[in-house]
């Protein structure tokens, strides 16, 4: 369960967002500069909201009133960056192992990184470096890396925008399947309306920091 009620003062407008999500895909749709990525960064703890509160998996990670601001590394989130941000000096395997090694919690290691990569169809790339991967491969590796720590919330920043049309179509289906098998809330940011409607169980349209429209749909396989 994800509960967000946040205000972030930016220099040209104020961003305000309220959302509640169970294990579903929430899509934030809006043009560039509308504050979508800022929302993700606030959820991740990379930016501090000006006011409000954030609850991830029923744990309060931010509250302006109670002066709570849990640092990013303790928020149990996975974050897929727009340009994937795979560590260029580490192999695919070490990229995926980076999270579990950072947390060092025994339970996290139940998840075998090799199996995880295999499930994304990139198990054969273990010893490659990011510069040796195609766009689609990078995206799958980045997803595996984000999920290797068993996050309670997955944040995806324009996950498909850097890919060609065919890869994009097959990957968005994979994203839907992935969501079904992981059963955690996904918050996905996009500027592509068609993609938003295809993926979102809950669709939030933001423009200049204001929520313009909220649409909820539970039609599976739309």
């Amino acid at each position: 369960m994800l509960e967000v009620n946040l205000v972030k003062n930016l220099w040209h407008f104020n961003l305000e967002l309220k959302l509640k999500a169970a294990n579903e895909i929430v899509v934030l749709l809006g043009p560039s500069g509308s504050g979508k990525t800022t929302v993700l960064q606030c959820l991740a703890g990379l930016l501090k909201p000006s006011a409000g509160s954030i609850k991830i998996d029923d744990k309060l990670v931010f509250s302006a009133e109670q002066n709570i601001n849990v640092p990013t590394r303790h928020r149990d989130i996975g974050y897929l960056f727009q340009d994937y941000a795979l560590f260029p000096h580490l192999t695919v395997k070490d990229n995926v192992l980076y999270g579990p090694k950072s947390r060092r919690a025994g339970t996290d290691l139940e998840l075998n990184p090799v199996e995880l990569l295999d499930s994304f169809g990139v198990g054969h790339l273990l010893n490659r470096y990011p510069r040796q991967l195609s766009g689609g491969e990078k995206q799958r590796v980045a997803l595996a890396r984000a999920l290797a720590t068993r996050p309670k919330l997955l944040l995806l920043d324009e996950p498909l925008s850097a890919l060609d049309r065919n890869t994009r179509l097959s990957l968005r289906q994979e994203l839907k399947n992935l969501h079904k098998s992981w059963q955690v809330p996904f918050v996905l940011v996009t500027h592509d309306e068609e993609e938003a409607e295809y993926l979102g169980d809950q669709l939030i349209v933001i423009e200049k920091g204001r929520v313009q429209e909220i649409a909820v749909s539970h039609v599976v396989g739309k």
Binding site: A44, G45, L46, P71, T72, R73, H74, R75, I77, G78, Y79, F81, D83, A85, F87, P88, H89, Y98, G99, S102, R103, Y129, R131, R145, A146, T149
Partner: protein
């Protein structure tokens, strides 16, 4: 043509430069990382103070150090009470070399850290890594070519330090006489063979170090 009766200037110079570079690295690298990412009031002021020795005449630095660690200097007197004398020992040559080479290490390291894409550090944070782990596993390896360039520049500068060294360490053969000081006094005394030999040693050695580093750094780009 080339002959050297006394190798002590070479040994003293190497010892002084190596210790100075170790100190400069331990101080300059964390400082550079902090300044590359942090924002605080008075940052420009601190920055200017660190860089100042780069543009000041060596005699000014020498005079400043004399005031500081001389027999009647602020630090010098306190040290004298503890039974320690730095002035006119090879340690003061280390101090002079450290002060003049720190800005070079600092500037290169800061540029190197700034060139590391912040999204790698953010990604590491979302994967649960502590700031210390991020520094050693992400920032440091990715900034490494630039850091090495700074290391070499600092080493070359430390090895070549003359003015400030002469003022605080003097010219005591076998104790504080470094290569640049030895060359100056050899020429002054008309001993061209010694001067020529020391010049050749410094030139060849410096050339080899820079040549090797350039070649190495060219292969380290991701």
């Amino acid at each position: 043509m080339f002959a050297l009766n006394d190798w002590s200037p070479v040994i003293i110079s190497l010892r002084v430069a190596i210790i100075a570079v170790v100190i400069v690295t331990c101080l300059g690298v964390p400082l550079a990382r902090f300044m590359a990412r942090g924002e605080f009031a008075g940052k420009d002021l601190v920055e200017s103070c660190i860089t100042l020795p780069l543009v000041l005449p060596p005699s000014v630095i020498g005079y400043g150090l004399l005031i500081l660690i001389g027999k009647n200097g602020m630090v010098g007197r306190a040290l004298a009470e503890a039974g320690i004398t730095i002035i006119f020992t090879w340690w003061s040559a280390v101090l002079a070399a450290t002060v003049v080479s720190l800005p070079l290490m600092y500037q290169s390291a800061k540029a190197a850290f700034k060139s590391v894409d912040v999204s790698f550090e953010k990604a590491a944070r979302t994967l649960g890594a502590s700031e210390l782990r991020i520094f050693f596993t992400i920032s440091l390896p990715l900034a490494w070519p630039g850091l090495l360039a700074g290391l070499v520049l600092a080493f070359a500068r430390a090895l070549g330090e003359f003015g400030a060294t002469l003022m605080v360490a003097g010219n005591i053969p076998g104790q504080t006489q470094t290569i640049p000081v030895a060359i100056f006094f050899a020429v002054d005394a008309g001993d061209n063979t010694t001067a020529r030999t020391l010049v050749a040693i410094v030139t060849v050695f410096s050339f080899l170090v820079i040549f090797w580093v350039n070649r190495w750094a060219r292969r380290q780009t991701y």
